[in-house]
């Protein structure tokens, strides 16, 4: 494994994107930062600008308006960049599959590396998902 990749896996800065979610996944993601879970232990930081991000955490069921923005943002993000889909909505669109405003699933818009199912996934599940992501990219899974 190259040094570049090693460093990336030890310091994934995440940018959080909601594409029309019910907020629960977003709140549980934020929860990962707080004292009980504290993902800064693993070098993860939540950043404000997409330009600083290494990992995109996407939640929500991809509605028509946010999908357009999602495509623009995906072009802007500096590569290499990993994508984590949080919640059932991003995986299968769950309840919202027949909604007139949610035409396409997330993995048809941008490539997804890891899915974390759950409605909402618990913070422990999100951390476990992040670990899986690191293992997968690092080639140990």
């Amino acid at each position: 494994m190259s040094l570049k990749l090693k460093a990336l896996l030890k310091s994934p800065w995440v940018f959080h994107l909601s594409t029309g979610s019910c907020n629960n996944c977003d709140i549980e993601t934020l929860d990962c930062l707080t004292p009980r879970f504290d993902i800064e232990r693993f070098g993860m930081l939540l950043v404000g600008s997409i330009k600083h991000a290494d990992v995109l955490l996407v939640s929500g069921s991809c509605n028509r308006m946010s999908v357009e923005r999602l495509k623009v943002l995906w072009d802007q993000v500096p590569k290499p960049c990993l994508v984590v889909a949080i919640g059932t909505c991003t995986g299968s669109r769950g309840l919202f599959i027949d909604s007139y405003n949610c035409p396409v699933p997330l993995d048809k818009i941008i490539p997804v590396d890891v899915y974390i199912p759950g409605c909402p996934p618990k913070p422990e599940a999100i951390i476990a998902g992040a670990v899986k992501l690191i293992q997968k990219v690092g080639g140990t899974l």
Binding site: C22, T34, M65, L95, S99, C102, P120
Partner: protein
């Protein structure tokens, strides 16, 4: 000085959810604002076609994660307004416990995020640390950290076990000292005073004109609380205070929320200690034709549900109005003339919740789409269709 356009969003660290605001600024002063909604609009209506009254609670729960009690509560009250049924006292107490638990966690969440927006991350971490304890209580009571799935028309889905109550009370008691310390630290901080007082004032008249709700209106001196005005649940059984302040600025909105958290803790404790015995569920007998309205006080203000029934086991129409829908337009009234630095905290002070605002959860039984691929659902639907045709076909 020339005018510049400053975008906030759609993806901005200020907000967990996407929303697009365009601020027109002169130097640092905001002169105009435009809001574009729609980044969170999921159109729940068309996909929930064909849901029976009982199942709809799960859909409305997913309108918003933070208000995942308020919407089912308002919805069940609306259904109970259509159906003639009596909810037992025990069910009412359990509902009140869950609703107040949600208010505590929602207000703590707000406090933390407000601190974060001001760059005061210590408040953010402390408030969310306290919030974890409440989420633990909710997990003990309902099995879930969020999306509690406790409500159903006629009662509640799960009972509270007697042996859980002392554990919950202990957990709730354990956060009180820290909460009081945090309250002092926030309300007595001179830098916070300098930063928040007199900022983003919503006048009394504006609060009336915009029909502002919840803490947003109560901070402006409009004493408006569904729990007092139109009592429901177990709120009549105990003494508690409606927190009203007069200034309408960001600081007052924070004061209202923090003091309300303390009130909510007392209500929850009272309910847990005095939980009456009895059934938790009432059965629905027959479905009358008619319409019903249910409204309750969510953490952000009044949540309003309207249900129309045509005698079948599904609603014809179900309209949802979340509090942010009424509160968010007040942003325009409060922000003009303020600086960009204040714009974010003024917006945060409303405690906006876009997923609620853009829900439009309208159910409708005449569509052709199925809710879920499961064959069971389809079969029962076809059966109902046949029955309906037999009954004269609508």
């Amino acid at each position: 000085m020339g005018k510049t356009i400053i975008p906030i969003g759609p993806y901005h660290p200020l907000q967990e959810e996407p929303e697009f605001f365009t601020l027109t600024v002169e130097g640092e002063t905001v002169v105009d604002i435009d809001m574009r909604m729609g980044y969170n609009h999921r159109g729940i209506e068309k996909l929930s076609e064909g849901m029976v009254f009982e199942n709809s609670t799960f859909v409305v729960e997913r309108i918003c994660g933070i208000c995942s009690t308020s919407h089912p509560y308002a919805y069940t009250r609306a259904v109970e307004d259509v159906f003639p049924m009596e909810v037992s006292m025990r069910a009412k107490y359990i509902r009140t416990i869950i609703a107040e638990g949600e208010r505590i966690h929602s207000h703590l969440l707000w406090l933390g995020l407000a601190g974060h927006f001001l760059g005061y991350n210590t408040v953010y971490m402390w408030a969310w640390k306290l919030r974890e304890e409440i989420l633990d209580v909710m997990e003990i009571l309902s099995g879930n950290r969020n999306n509690y799935a406790m409500f159903k028309p006629g009662g509640v889905r799960r009972d509270i076990r007697a042996e859980d109550i002392p554990i919950c009370l202990k957990k709730i008691d354990s956060i009180v000292p820290t909460l009081i310390m945090l309250k002092k630290a926030v309300l007595d901080d001179p830098v916070l005073h300098a930063r928040l007082k007199g900022v983003g004032v919503l006048s009394y008249q504006d609060a009336i004109d915009f029909s502002a709700l919840g803490p947003t209106s109560r901070a402006s001196g409009v004493a408006r609380d569904v729990r007092k005005d139109s009592p429901y649940g177990a709120y009549q059984e105990m003494d508690w205070n409606m927190i009203v302040t007069q200034n309408g600025d960001v600081f007052d909105k924070a004061v209202v929320r923090i003091l309300e958290t303390v009130e909510s803790i007392n209500i929850t404790k009272y309910c847990l200690e005095n939980l009456p015995d009895g059934e938790i569920d009432a059965n629905i007998k027959d479905v009358p034709v008619g319409e019903g309205i249910g409204h309750i006080e969510a953490p952000r203000g009044e949540t309003f549900h309207y249900v129309k029934s045509d005698g079948t086991n599904r609603p014809v129409r179900h309209k949802v109005r979340a509090p942010t829908f009424m509160n968010l337009p007040t942003y325009k009234a409060t922000i003009v003339g303020q600086t960009i630095s204040d714009a974010t905290i003024i917006l945060a002070a409303i405690d906006p919740c876009y997923c609620c605002t853009e829900r439009v959860a309208v159910k409708d039984d005449r569509g052709r789409m199925l809710y879920n691929g499961q064959d069971l659902v389809r079969l029962s639907r076809e059966k109902t269709e046949k029955m309906r045709q037999r009954m004269g076909g609508k």
